[in-house]
C-alpha cells in the first residue's frame, strides 16, 4: 500500500468544495428563463377528486400554468411502475394499483399531488397553489396493516382485493413443521419494525429543461442512479427516447435509498417544461419530504424458533405483514421478500425455515428500500429472537449464538443465499473483548448500587450486498441487470479520468476510486478524476445502493484498468525493446524487471496518442471500458454490543459503550469505512430509540416535520468503538464486501436487547422512548 493506495486513510478530495460552500446541488442551479413548480397536494388520506378549479390561480401574478392529473393522463405519460415482479404462493402475479404521476380521480395518501402550479418565482407558485380549489369527496381510510386486512375494510385499489399486494412464501414448510413437531423448546416473538422517514438532509429537487428544436430534455435531479432514472423515464413513462433525455445528478445531499426511485415530481417537471416551453424547477420542502419520499420498514411479524435439547436451532417460522403504503414504489416489492426473507438464517445454522410475507396497501406514503432495505428487519427479528431464546432457555446470549454459528463455508441456507465466507466467532470475540463482556456482571452490580439499571445487548448481523449478480436477481423477478460499468480514459499527458456508473452522494468515491488507480500505477490521486452522475458522460450504470459501489463499481474500474494496463505494457515493451511479460509497473513507471530500463507512465500515454511508434497493428489511444457482473452477493457480517443504563424513574436510556466489530473484507479507505459505519449505527440507534413515522387512524401523518419526527441529534448518540476482522470476499478480485448499511442493519437489536436486559422485561417495541420504557418497567 502506498500513501494513497488501497488501505490508506486518505482525506477526501471532494471535501474542499463542500467545506467552502462550493458544492453544486440541484437547488443551486439556475437556468435562463426558469420557472418554479409548486404542487397542490391532497390533505386527505383517501378521497375522490370531484373537480379542480384553477381559475383564480391562473389570474394571479406570475402564474404560467396550472396543470392537473387528468392532463398528464391525457398526454399519455405512463403510470409509475414497480420494477421487481413478485409471484404469490398461488402463482398469481402481484396486484398493482395504477399510480399516475398526479391523481386524476382518487387520492390515496396525504401529500399525493393532484395539480401543479408553474410560476415565475417559487413564492408566486406557492401563493397560486393556495388558490387552486380542489373539490374532494372524502373516503374512509386504512392507516395500518391491521386495519387494511380486516374483513370489510375500505379497499384502496380495484386491482387488489383485500388490499393485498401479494402473499409470498419461501422455504420448506413441511420440513419446518416437522422440526417444530420434534422441538424441545419453542421461542415465540411478535415484533413491529417501526416505519422510518428517510430524511436525507438535501430535500429532493428537479430541474427540467426542454429544447424544442432538438426535441431533447435535460433533467437535473437528486438521484442515486441517473441512468436508471433515464431508462425508466424513457421506457416506461414515455417522456422521451433515451438519446433525447440527459439526466444529471450533480452533488446529491444524501440518499440512503430514498433517491433511488423516480418520483412523480421529476416526471411532472419534465412534462411541464415541454408544455410551458421554459425550464421548470421544483425543490421539495421538508414536509413534502416526509409526505412523499418513500418511507422505510413498517413490518408486523410473528416468528417462532425451534430448538432441540442441546439448544441447537432446528427450525424457524416467520409470518410478516409488510405495509407498502398506497402504491407500489419502484423496488418496493423486493424489500420484504428477496432482501428480507433471504436473510432470515442470520449467522446461524438453521436446517429448516419457512417464511410468509403478505404485502398490504394502506392509505399512507409508499414504502420502499431504505438504508438496509429488508436486511435491518431480518437482522432485528433474528437477533431479538436469539436474545429472547437465551433468556427463555437461561443460557448466556453469546454462548447460545456461538453454539449455533455457521462455521463452514460456503454455506447454503434454506432461503436461497449461499454465504461465501465469514468468521462470526472472530467478530464476536473482537466485540466482546472491546466491551469487556466478562466484566459486565460487576459493572451491572455497581450500577445497581447507584440506582441505575444497566443492560448489555448483542446483535450478530449478516447482510447481503452488491445486489447482484444480474442472472440471479433476474431469476428472482428483477426488471434490470445489476452489474456496473467503468471506463478508464488516459489523456495524452498521462492524467486519468475514471468514468463510473456508480453515484457518490456522500460515500467518497472521488477519493476511494482514485486510490485503486494510485495502488496500481503508483501515480498520485491528484492525477486522477472521477466522472459520474451524468448520462451524457458515462454510457450506462446502475448507481449506488445496497452497499454495492466498491464491490461491484470499483471492480468494474479494476477490470477496465487491467485492460488499459495490458495495452500500456505492450506500448512500453515496444518502446523499451523488451518483452511484454518483463514489464512491471512501479511508482508511475513501466520498468523492465531486473534492469534500470524504464519509461514514465505519461510517456507511455503520449506514445499511445502520437502513435508514431506503436507495435504493428495496434490502434492509437489509451482508453478501455468494462462491464462487471459479480458471481454472488457479498456477505458483510459483524457483532455489535451495546451497554447502557436506564433510569427507572424516567425511562431514559443513557449509553455507556457501543462497540462494533465488522467484517467488510478488504477496506480501501478505513477512514471512510468508519464514517459509513458511524452513520449506519446512528440510524440503527435512531430507529431503536427515537424515530417513528406515525399516522393516525384516518391516515393523517402525525410526524411530518423535524418538530414531530425525532431525528437523532449529536447528544442522543455516543461515540462509537469500532474494530474490524477480515475474511476476504472470494466473489470479487478485490475481496470487498461493502460497508454502507451495516450499522443500520445491526444496531437496533443490540440497543433493544440491552434495554430489555436492563429492565428485565423482554417485550419492548421500537422506538424505545422514555415514555414507552417507563411504562414497560412499571407494567403489571
Amino acid at each position: 500500500m502506498g500513501v494513497e493506495g488501497i488501505g490508506a486513510r486518505v482525506v477526501r478530495k471532494e471535501d474542499k468544495r463542500f467545506i467552502t460552500g462550493k458544492g453544486r446541488y440541484v437547488d443551486d442551479i439556475k437556468l435562463q428563463g426558469m420557472t418554479h413548480a409548486h404542487f397542490v397536494r391532497s390533505p386527505h388520506a383517501h378521497a375522490k377528486v370531484k373537480g379542480i378549479d384553477s381559475s383564480a390561480a391562473l389570474k394571479m401574478p406570475g402564474v404560467v400554468a396550472v396543470l392537473t392529473g387528468q392532463q398528464i393522463v391525457d398526454d399519455k405519460v405512463g403510470n409509475l411502475i414497480c420494477g421487481w415482479a413478485i409471484t404469490s404462493k398461488d402463482g398469481s402475479p402481484m396486484k398493482m394499483g395504477a399510480w399516475p404521476a398526479m391523481a386524476p380521480e382518487t387520492v390515496r395518501f396525504v401529500g399525493q399531488a393532484v395539480a401543479v402550479v408553474i410560476a415565475d418565482t417559487k413564492n408566486l407558485a406557492r401563493d397560486a397553489a393556495e388558490a387552486v380549489v380542489v373539490d374532494y369527496e372524502e373516503l374512509p381510510a386504512v392507516a395500518d396493516v391491521h386495519a387494511a386486512i380486516k374483513a370489510g375494510a375500505q379497499q384502496l385499489h380495484p386491482e387488489a382485493p383485500g388490499n393485498q399486494v401479494y402473499d409470498w412464501v419461501i422455504g420448506d414448510e413441511g420440513a419446518t413443521d416437522a422440526a417444530f413437531a420434534k422441538a424441545a423448546n419453542v421461542v415465540k416473538l411478535d415484533v413491529t419494525n417501526n416505519r422510518l422517514a428517510p430524511n436525507a438532509m438535501e430535500p429532493r429537487a428537479a430541474i427540467a429543461d426542454y429544447d424544442a428544436a432538438e426535441e431533447h430534455f435535460t433533467l437535473y435531479t437528486t438521484s442515486q442512479n441517473p441512468h436508471v432514472a433515464r431508462l425508466v423515464l424513457s421506457a416506461f413513462y414515455n417522456i422521451a427516447p433515451e438519446h433525447k433525455l440527459r439526466v444529471i445528478a450533480p452533488d446529491v445531499g444524501g440518499g440512503f435509498g430514498s433517491k433511488i426511485f423516480i418520483y412523480p415530481e421529476e416526471m411532472v417537471a419534465l412534462w411541464a417544461s415541454k408544455k410551458v416551453g421554459r425550464p421548470v424547477k421544483w425543490t421539495g420542502d421538508r414536509t413534502e419530504a416526509f409526505l412523499t419520499d418513500a418511507h422505510g420498514r413498517d413490518h408486523v411479524t410473528h416468528a417462532e424458533m425451534a430448538f432441540d435439547a442441546n439448544n441447537k436451532i432446528t427450525g424457524l417460522k416467520v409470518k410478516t405483514y409488510a405495509n407498502f403504503g398506497a402504491y407500489m414504489s419502484l423496488f418496493s416489492s423486493s424489500v420484504p421478500t428477496y432482501l428480507y426473507a433471504t436473510l432470515l438464517s442470520g449467522q446461524y445454522n438453521i436446517p429448516a425455515i419457512h417464511a410468509e410475507v403478505i404485502g398490504v396497501y394502506t392509505n399512507t406514503t409508499p414504502v420502499d428500500a431504505y438504508r438496509g432495505a429488508g436486511r435491518p428487519e431480518a437482522s432485528y427479528l433474528i437477533e431479538r429472537l436469539m436474545e429472547t431464546a437465551a433468556r427463555q432457555l437461561k443460557v448466556d446470549p453469546a454462548a447460545l449464538r456461538r453454539s449455533n454459528f455457521i462455521t463452514e463455508f460456503p454455506h447454503q441456507t434454506p432461503v436461497i443465499m449461499a454465504y461465501d465466507v465469514g468468521d462470526f466467532n472472530a467478530s464476536l470475540d473482537a466485540a466482546m473483548k472491546a466491551i469487556d463482556y466478562a466484566g459486565f456482571a460487576a459493572r451491572k452490580a455497581k450500577a445497581k448500587t447507584e440506582g441505575k439499571l444497566r443492560g448489555i445487548g448483542l446483535s450478530c448481523y449478516i447482510e447481503a450486498c452488491g445486489i447482484a449478480p444480474s442472472k440471479a436477481v433476474g431469476s428472482l423477478g428483477a426488471g434490470v441487470g445489476l452489474w456496473e460499468s467503468a471506463e478508464v480514459r488516459v489523456n495524452p499527458v498521462g492524467t486519468i479520468e475514471i468514468l463510473t456508473g456508480s453515484h457518490s452522494h456522500g460515500q467518497g468515491h472521488e477519493t476511494t476510486f482514485c486510490q485503486l488507480v494510485a495502488e496500481r500505477l503508483g501515480v498520485p490521486i491528484s492525477q486522477v478524476s472521477i466522472v459520474h452522475g451524468d448520462t451524457d458522460k458515462v454510457q450506462f450504470g446502475m448507481g449506488t445502493y445496497g452497499s454495492r459501489s466498491a464491490a461491484v463499481g470499483l471492480t468494474a474500474i479494476l477490470k477496465a484498468m487491467e485492460k488499459m494496463e495490458s495495452k500500456a505494457k505492450k506500448i512500453a515493451a515496444h518502446a523499451l525493446e523488451a518483452s511484454e511479460g518483463d514489464i512491471v509497473i512501479e511508482n508511475g513507471e513501466f520498468k523492465v524487471a531486473g534492469t534500470d530500463k524504464a519509461i514514465a507512465f505519461p510517456m507511455v500515454a503520449l506514445a499511445a496518442y502520437t502513435a508514431h511508434n506503436l507495435p504493428d497493428g495496434m490502434e492509437p489511444g489509451l482508453k478501455e471500458s468494462a462491464f462487471y457482473d459479480p458471481t454472488n452477493f457479498t456477505f458483510p457480517a459483524g457483532a455489535y454490543i451495546c451497554e447502557l443504563e436506564v433510569d427507572a424513574g424516567t425511562g431514559k436510556t443513557s449509553f455507556v459503550n457501543f462497540v462494533a466489530a465488522d467484517d467488510f473484507g478488504r477496506l480501501i479507505n478505513p477512514m471512510i469505512v468508519e464514517g459509513q459505519v458511524h452513520g449506519g449505527l446512528a440510524q440503527g440507534i435512531g430507529q431503536a430509540l427515537l424515530e417513528h413515522a406515525i399516522y393516525d387512524a384516518n391516515g393523517q401523518p402525525v410526524t411530518a416535520s423535524f418538530m414531530d419526527y425525532s431525528m437523532p441529534r449529536a447528544d442522543d448518540l455516543p461515540s462509537f468503538n469500532l474494530s474490524h476482522t477480515t475474511t476476504l470476499c472470494p466473489g470479487n478480485p478485490l475481496g470487498i464486501k461493502g460497508c454502507g448499511e451495516a450499522g443500520a442493519i445491526g444496531a437496533s437489536a443490540a440497543v433493544i436487547n440491552a434495554i430489555t436486559d436492563a429492565i428485565g422485561k423482554n417485550n419492548l417495541e421500537m422506538p424505545a422512548t422514555p415514555d414507552r420504557v417507563w411504562r414497560t418497567i412499571h407494567a403489571a
Binding site: 463542500f18 467545506i19 437547488d27 436525507a200 438532509m201 430535500p203 452533488d251
Partner: protein, 161 residues
C-alpha cells in the same frame, strides 16, 4: 419591496427584495451564495446557519429585512484566500462530512460554539451545543472530533495572532 443594505463576507451589498424574503433566500437567490443550505421548514436542521454580527443565526428563521445594516458571514467567507479556516480544515482532516449538505451550517455553528466556550469544550458540551444541527450521514462521531480538534487549532492560531 424593500431595499436591504448589509455587509456580506466583507462586501457591502444593497438588494431589493419582497418583504417576506428570508435571509437565506437573499443569500442564495439574490447573491448566489449557495453554500448556505435549506434542509427543513422549522428551524430544526441548521443547514442554513450563518454568522450575523459575529453570532450564529439560522438564516431561514429571519427576514432579510432583519439583517438590514448587519454584518453577515457565510461559509464562503471564512477562509482567508486559499487558507482554510481551522474549522474547515478540521472537518476535512477528521472526515467530519459525507454528503456535504449539512456541512456549511455545521461549520458555522461549530465556530460559534468554540468562540463561546473557548478552552472549556469537551465532548459532552459539543454534543449538547450541536443540538440545532442535524446530520444524517456521519452519526456525528467525526463531527464532534472535528470540533474538538478545531478548538485546539483555533486557540493556537489566536495565540499566534
Amino acid at each position: 419591496m424593500s431595499t436591504v443594505k448589509l455587509t456580506v463576507n466583507g462586501k457591502a451589498v444593497s438588494v431589493d427584495v419582497e418583504d417576506r424574503t428570508l435571509l437565506v433566500q437573499l443569500l442564495r437567490e439574490n447573491l448566489n451564495l449557495t453554500g448556505t443550505h435549506v434542509g427543513c421548514d422549522t428551524s430544526q436542521c441548521g443547514a442554513c446557519v450563518v454568522h450575523m454580527d459575529g453570532k450564529a443565526v439560522k438564516s431561514c428563521t429571519m427576514l432579510a429585512g432583519q439583517a438590514d445594516g448587519a454584518n453577515v458571514t457565510t461559509i464562503e467567507g471564512i477562509a482567508k484566500g486559499d487558507e482554510l479556516h481551522p474549522m474547515q480544515a478540521a472537518f476535512r482532516d477528521n472526515h467530519g462530512l459525507q454528503c456535504g449538505y449539512c456541512t456549511p451550517g455545521m461549520i458555522m455553528s461549530a465556530i460559534d460554539i468554540v468562540h463561546r466556550h473557548g478552552g472549556g469544550l469537551d465532548e459532552a458540551t459539543v454534543r449538547r451545543e450541536l443540538e440545532g444541527n442535524i446530520c444524517r450521514c456521519t452519526g456525528y462521531h467525526n463531527i464532534v472530533k472535528a470540533v474538538l480538534d478545531a478548538a485546539g487549532r483555533m486557540k493556537v492560531s489566536q495565540a499566534a495572532e
